[in-house]
Symmetry: C2
DNA sequence: GTCTATACGTGGATAGAC
DNA sequence: GTCTATCCACGTATAGAC
């Protein structure tokens, strides 16, 4: 039962940091980022309040750790679902629906993501993290677009990063809007519309060109 | 100079409420919603702290008043710019660029809008306001779409509210993404791409149909 | 390393003087 | 109506006992 060699309820600061981070996210989802005080987080983690400050130098460090860890892995899973034979028309629909499944599976998470991003943007020491994360996602999507185009022998009509940013914006916007109005069906329909739109940016390459191989 | 009949620095509670609301927005833009304490707001407005609680019963009431007042008037101005002869192709570009001009004219405002919405979503007494505002905007856009279609003798290929929601999502998403990465050119390009996309949902009606009139 | 106790500031809200 | 003084809960962070 005891996978630690330490005598009592002792555990490495490393483990404690993990516990505090997950506890923090739990509190944030339940009561909001503003309510996630160091006291509330420690209580959630079952630790005394004093534990906090020998795991993290300050609350800001905890925020930085959470943001750096990456909160969501948008789309990453769903790209894998695409088989080489998948039509671009269907590809984006599968992709956005996969994303939406993740959202409805844990809706509060999206609100936390927005709150955390806003929080970071207001803090000089954290302001860089949203930009970094945003760029990371865009690059990933752009890379997947290249692979998709190559696999299906198609070409993307605009720069890959442009389409990636559009996809990111559409996802983000539909989700944000849904947080406000709460209409599941509307969000689903909006994403489906966008899927159709994005597919039109993927154009099958001429057969004659393919023959060059 | 004195447009008040009251003897001293006296002013109606009505006026004070207005002053507090604008002061609150000022503080929020400068330091964030979280930093907008009743004390900070009163200081900004040049009032003593005690003034707050005979203008608003609670801080929540101030938030409700601000949210109900409507923070942004998205697109509303720009629709007017469209002349009857404007091609749908150009219409959306004019529209989204007009929106973006407003954003860059006062960038902090968008961050505040996001913060305020998140705040409201966490408060049982305020949760309804974002939904109400969201629905209002969608309706307005849908109405303008109808007018645009009628004026140009075109038809919209999907339900007007569907396209309205897409426009709203695209705007919201592009703005939110821009708040993170801060790249003005990227945002502008993204919105232009979306403008082109939306135009394809507007289809000129058959000349033969128009002849029916 | 671990945790208790505490320091110190700030928040929203109110009582009561003017 | 207007404002001062104050209450009390809660925030981050630290000092120091174990």
């Amino acid at each position: 039962m005891d996978d630690e060699t330490k005598p009592k309820g002792q555990m490495s600061a490393e483990v404690r940091r993990e516990l505090l981070m997950t506890a923090a996210l739990e509190v944030m989802k339940r009561e909001g980022v503003a309510a996630a005080s160091t006291r509330a987080i420690c209580e959630e983690a079952g630790m005394p309040h004093g534990a906090f400050h020998y795991c993290f130098g300050s609350k800001r460090e905890l925020f930085a750790a959470i943001l750096r860890n990456g909160l969501d892995v948008p789309l990453e899973k769903s790209w894998i679902l695409l088989s080489p034979s998948t039509h671009p028309e269907d590809a984006f629909r599968i992709l956005l629906r996969g994303y939406w499944d993740d959202v409805v599976a844990d809706p509060r998470r999206e609100l936390v993501l927005s709150e955390l991003t806003n929080h970071a943007l207001r803090d000089d020491a954290l302001r860089g993290l949203p930009a970094w994360e945003s760029g990371l996602y865009r690059e990933r999507i752009a890379k997947h677009l290249s692979e998709l185009a190559e696999r299906t022998g198609s070409e993307v009509l605009i720069p890959h990063t442009d389409l990636a940013e559009m996809i990111l914006s559409a996802i983000l916007g539909a989700t944000t809007s849904w947080l406000s109005h709460g209409e599941d069906e509307t969000a689903r329909r909006t994403l489906d519309h966008f899927a159709g739109v994005f597919a039109r940016f993927i154009h099958p390459r001429e057969a004659t060109v393919a023959a060059d191989l």
